[in-house]
Amino acid sequence: MKKDTIILGVIGSDCHSVGNKILELVFSSEGFHVVNLGVMVSQQEFVNAAIETNAKAILVSSLYGHGEIDCQGFRDLCIEKGLDQIILYVGGNLVVGKKPFSVVEEKFKKMGFDRVFPPDVDLKKVAELLRQDIKEKFGQEAAAEEKQPDASPKKHSAAN
């Protein structure tokens, strides 16, 4: 079976590279085809890579507290660039200060992220959620449909 492609990277001016390497290891061993863009990745770079690779999801990390500013408008950019189906996850030390996680989560969900994770999440569980979300959003038909483009506007997959 063809592996699903996911894009990883640390957004903004953030150089934290250790967690990023761990994510790559875990998600690869969980059976995903991981494209890791490394540190200091801009929104545009995430989107470009997702287009070329036909990725199903983008997993954004932010460790240095400026995630809120860096992630602003991410979903809009995806839609603007034709990635209207893509799954967006974000996780890490997303904001500075001691806000309850539920507040942070809501903030990022409002920005259009499908799931938001604190810094100490079990990655196996994330991988499981990701598999579910991909199945729900893209189903089985999605892959077949993408191979037969026609002039009509994009159809939504049956599973959606």
Binding site: N48, E52, T53
Partner: protein, 467 residues
């Protein structure tokens, strides 16, 4: 002892040189220059060849066979005209352009994402020599690729299409385009960040041989002498690639060739050195890189050069206390009469300022840069493009730079680039400047495939240090 002849059929001049190969040393024996005969390239070629062999100029070509080993190159009307199609401008399209230029081509137009109806019209209007069609990583995007394939199928073009995109749909693309000539090769970017332009370069070279050469009599030369021509810029590319391999002291070398129509910039150096404080963004560029600028040239492209370089030229003229209008009328004159040589001191100066502008803009586009960024972990540099700081030698070639005795034509524009925008350009830090004294680089480039050590040694023996 063996005699070797190399001939380059340029758009204006057919140049040739004969060499003697003795004790694995190539020695220049004789040089010849004849106007290129556009309607039938063989005539100019014959004249140069017979001249080099000391024969009468009307000797039939077939009778010159066997007297020397022959190599030749052709610029094919100023280079192959390639239309590049990619998906994302910074990724596959960027690589498609780079591959086209590194194969000796000239990118005349480029398209990203979906081809529109007017894009297809543009393609039909331009009738390129090759369409280079890429997009998607292997197993990646196929939607845009298949859409574009369907549009290309409807386009009325006769040229071959090189497909170097997503391998997963290569068969489908070939099937869609079965009524055209399609050449499928490896993906330019099989994975994000992976650069694989060699197979594409090779295919473009093959097409050059088959399709373009047969046009104006070159097939007769191939038939008689049994050697295939090279695209001229590829010859120089091969030479620049081979020099450090055979002469390690010449690692990290660059060359600039300013012609009447284009300016070519070549570099052979590691494009990125990984450190904790320098982060590369975008693609890691190849070690040997050629860029060609179709808008920068001293004659045919003088007008477009003037438009591009207006600010640069204005600043230089102000410093010298000269009038822009004088330069403007000189540009009009040389663009009209491309064989015109500068007569007065002022005209010589103008020619030189235009050459400087060619260096300035070709270097600007070839060389990458650093942006300083402050992060919570401290200051880091974000690099885009190629790092040329370690370049130790820059060699000037082409009609103009091979005759230029002053290093300033190259050094002055590089100095000015130090203050370009917010970015710090990764310029050669302390380069020595050389000139290709006898303008032998394209001719020696033709010999690189068969005599790499000898040809590169001869090239280095013929350069003169001017800085």
């Amino acid at each position: 002892m063996k005699r070797i002849i190399s001939i380059d059929i340029g758009s204006t001049w057919t140049k040739g040189a004969s060499f003697v190969l003795e004790n694995s040393t190539l020695k220049l024996e004789k040089k010849m220059l004849e106007p290129t005969t556009q309607f039938d390239l063989v005539q100019g070629f014959s004249k140069v060849l017979s001249g080099l062999l000391g024969q009468d100029k009307s000797t039939p070509l077939a009778r010159l066979r066997g007297s020397a080993e022959i190599f030749f190159s052709s610029s094919a009307k100023g280079g192959l005209r390639i239309s590049a199609i990619g998906l994302v401008p910074d990724l596959t399209l960027h690589l498609a352009k780079l591959a086209a230029m590194s194969a000796g081509g000239k990118v005349i137009q480029s398209f990203s994402f979906s081809l529109t109806r007017s894009d297809v019209k543009e393609l039909e209007k331009q009738q390129p020599d090759i369409v280079l069609f890429s997009g998607g990583t292997d197993g990646g995007n196929s939607k845009y690729i298949l859409e574009n394939a369907l549009k290309l199928r409807e386009a009325e073009m006769a040229c071959p299409i090189v497909y170097a995109g997503n391998r997963a749909v290569a068969d489908e693309v070939a099937e869609i385009l079965r009524e055209k000539e399609v050449i499928v090769t490896e993906n330019l970017m099989p994975e994000i960040g992976q650069v694989n332009i060699e197979p594409t370069r090779e295919k473009i070279r093959e097409i050059f041989l088959k399709r373009i050469v047969s046009g104006r009599g070159l097939s007769r030369i191939v038939e008689i002498f049994g050697t295939q021509p090279k695209p001229t810029p590829l010859a120089v590319f091969d030479l620049i690639s081979a020099i450090p391999v055979y002469h390690p002291a010449w690692s990290d070398v660059a060359a600039v060739d300013i012609g009447g129509a284009t300016t070519d910039f070549y570099s052979n150096t590691e494009s990125y050195l990984e450190t904790d404080t320098v982060i590369l963004k975008g693609l890691r560029e190849p070690k040997v890189k050629r860029t060609v600028e179709g808008d920068l040239g001293l004659r045919v492209s003088a007008h477009s050069l003037f438009d591009t370089a207006r600010d640069y030229l204005e600043e230089r003229l102000r410093g010298l206390g000269l009038q822009m209008t004088r330069l403007e009328s000189f540009v009009a004159k040389i663009a009209e009469n491309t064989e015109c040589l500068p007569q007065t001191e002022e005209e010589i100066l103008f020619d030189r300022l235009l050459a400087e502008a060619c260096v300035y803009f070709s270097a600007l586009r070839h060389i990458g840069g650093w942006k300083e960024t402050f992060t919570p972990q401290g200051k880091v540099y974000v690099q885009t493009g190629k790092d040329l700081r370690r370049i130790k030698a820059i060699i000037g070639s082409g009609g103009y730079l091979s005759r230029e005795n002053s290093p300033e034509v190259i050094l002055c524009p590089l100095e000015k680039l130090k203050f370009y925008g917010e970015e710090r350009k990764l310029l050669p830090e302390n380069p020595e400047i050389f000139r290709d004294r006898d303008y032998l680089f394209p001719l020696l480039g033709n010999l690189v495939e068969k005599y790499p050590a000898e040809a590169t040694a001869a090239a280095l023996a013929s350069v003169e240090k001017i800085s």
